[in-house]
């Protein structure tokens, strides 16, 4: 994967993160941080997958990086971590996987007719897609809260 492709990836995912940040009504001064987190996270995942990591693992690594980046940004801008964390992982949300899973379910139910494969193959393919979707989502959530889990152990405010 060359630098130009990574740069493109970074740009588009930063735009995606920015758009969602605007939808979530993130204050203006925090928008650059959201775009940065979103761009870096997704580009890092692309690089990780290029290096041969499975999707789920690359996602976990990238989301954890976004988590630590959010921690730093939150300190810098005096704002809640979740603002950067959520915007930062939005580009990695497994939209296509979820979409394909959904198509598979409808196919199994006989609502649509896309392929002529035997139902058993269809079932396995859909299950695998569903499991992957779930694992990527869990990786995202774990990654964002990793800093919190690892370094903010017990200081019970409550």
């Amino acid at each position: 994967m060359n630098g130009w492709l990574v740069a493109q990836d970074l740009l588009w995912s930063a735009v995606a993160a920015l758009g969602f940040a605007v939808m979530f009504n993130v204050p203006r001064r925090l928008l650059p941080g959201c775009a940065l987190a979103g761009g870096l996270g997704h580009a890092l995942r692309a690089v990780g997958m290029e290096l041969g990591l499975p999707l789920e693992v690359a996602t976990l690594v990238a989301a954890t990086t976004v988590g630590f980046l959010s921690e730093w940004l939150a300190k810098r801008y005096q704002s809640p971590r979740i603002v950067f964390g959520v915007s930062g992982v939005i580009p990695m949300v497994p939209g296509v996987l979820a979409y394909q899973t959904m198509l598979g379910v409808f196919e199994l139910a006989g609502l649509i007719n896309l392929s002529t494969d035997p139902a058993a193959d269809e079932l396995v393919r859909t299950a695998v897609l569903g499991i992957k979707t779930g694992l990527v989502l869990i990786s995202l959530a774990l990654g964002i809260i990793a800093p919190n889990l690892l370094f903010r152990r017990q200081q019970p405010v409550v």
Binding site: W12, V15, L18, F20, P80, M102, F106
Partner: protein, 267 residues
């Protein structure tokens, strides 16, 4: 005459003061919950606010659809519950409320100033006007289509489909339609317009436009909060949020299915 939160000895509050403070805490907690904060953040912020305003202790029960607080001071205590409805993510308010609870716990504000600040936060309209949001969300999902390997016609179709779906969503939210129906209707509109990539033969990859243009509806925040709550020990809230996320995903699927059945696109 508010004392610093750090001082161990606090003056016992009168009944009226306690009533007022618990009211402020419920208000702040309600806004945090409504706008997408996770359970731990709600509990911590409300606790900081209450003790910062002079209570000795607060016991807070956070649920996704209600909030119960018992505030204690001296020999007095009061308990109140508030119902929490409506779900709309608003990071601006969460940031403001977070700052407010920090300032109160540092002793910068008394309860009258805190009430004024809460009123101001509650009145504050969105930072961005709705057309800017529509445009930006359209651009975001169009960017997604590029990430999914879509070509430029798909980029354009996704932009239009997402922008119109966002408009539909804004209108339906304003009319307070059931949230799941709102999502299904928006997904239907997005799918219908995105499928034009197939029947106008604009591109070989209509499925990219279909999947990218419904991403504005994806339940990212409920699902992330679900995982956070589960790991942090708010089991029932985590499960509730997870099921909410699942139902929203299913609503997207239903809307898309209708669009696919109607147009025959989406392969």
């Amino acid at each position: 005459m508010i004392e610093k939160a750090a001082t161990a000895e606090k003056r016992p509050l009168t009944h009226t003061e306690l009533t007022d403070i618990i009211d402020l805490c419920l208000w702040a907690g309600q806004m945090l919950l409504q706008h997408g904060a996770n359970s731990l953040r709600v509990e911590e912020s409300v606790h900081r606010l209450g003790t910062g305003l002079g209570c000795n202790w607060l016991d807070i029960v956070v649920r996704t659809e209600s909030l119960t607080i018992t505030a204690t001071s001296g020999d007095e205590f009061r308990t109140k519950t508030r119902r929490v409805v409506r779900l709309g993510i608003n990071m601006g308010r969460i940031t403001d409320l977070n700052n407010l609870s920090r300032r109160v716990s540092e002793g910068q504000l008394d309860r009258f100033q805190a009430r004024a600040a809460l009123e101001q936060i509650d009145r504050q309209p969105g930072v961005y006007n709705r057309w800017l949001v529509v445009g930006m969300v359209g651009l975001a999902c169009a960017a997604f289509s590029r990430l999914f390997g879509g070509d430029w016609p798909v980029f354009g179709v996704t932009f239009v489909a997402t922008a119109v779906a966002m408009l539909v969503r804004q209108e339906l939210v304003q009319r307070q339609l059931n949230p799941f129906l709102t999502v299904a209707a928006s997904a239907f509109v997005a799918g219908l317009i995105a499928s034009s990539a197939a029947w106008l033969q604009l591109s070989q990859q209509p499925q990219v436009a279909m999947s990218a243009s419904v991403l504005l509806l994806a339940p990212g925040v409920p699902l992330i909060n679900a995982a956070h709550d589960l790991i942090r020990g708010y089991m029932s809230n985590g499960v509730t949020r997870g099921v909410t996320g699942l139902l929203i995903s299913m609503a997207i699927a239903v809307g898309l299915l209708l669009a696919i059945l109607l147009t025959g696109a989406g392969i």
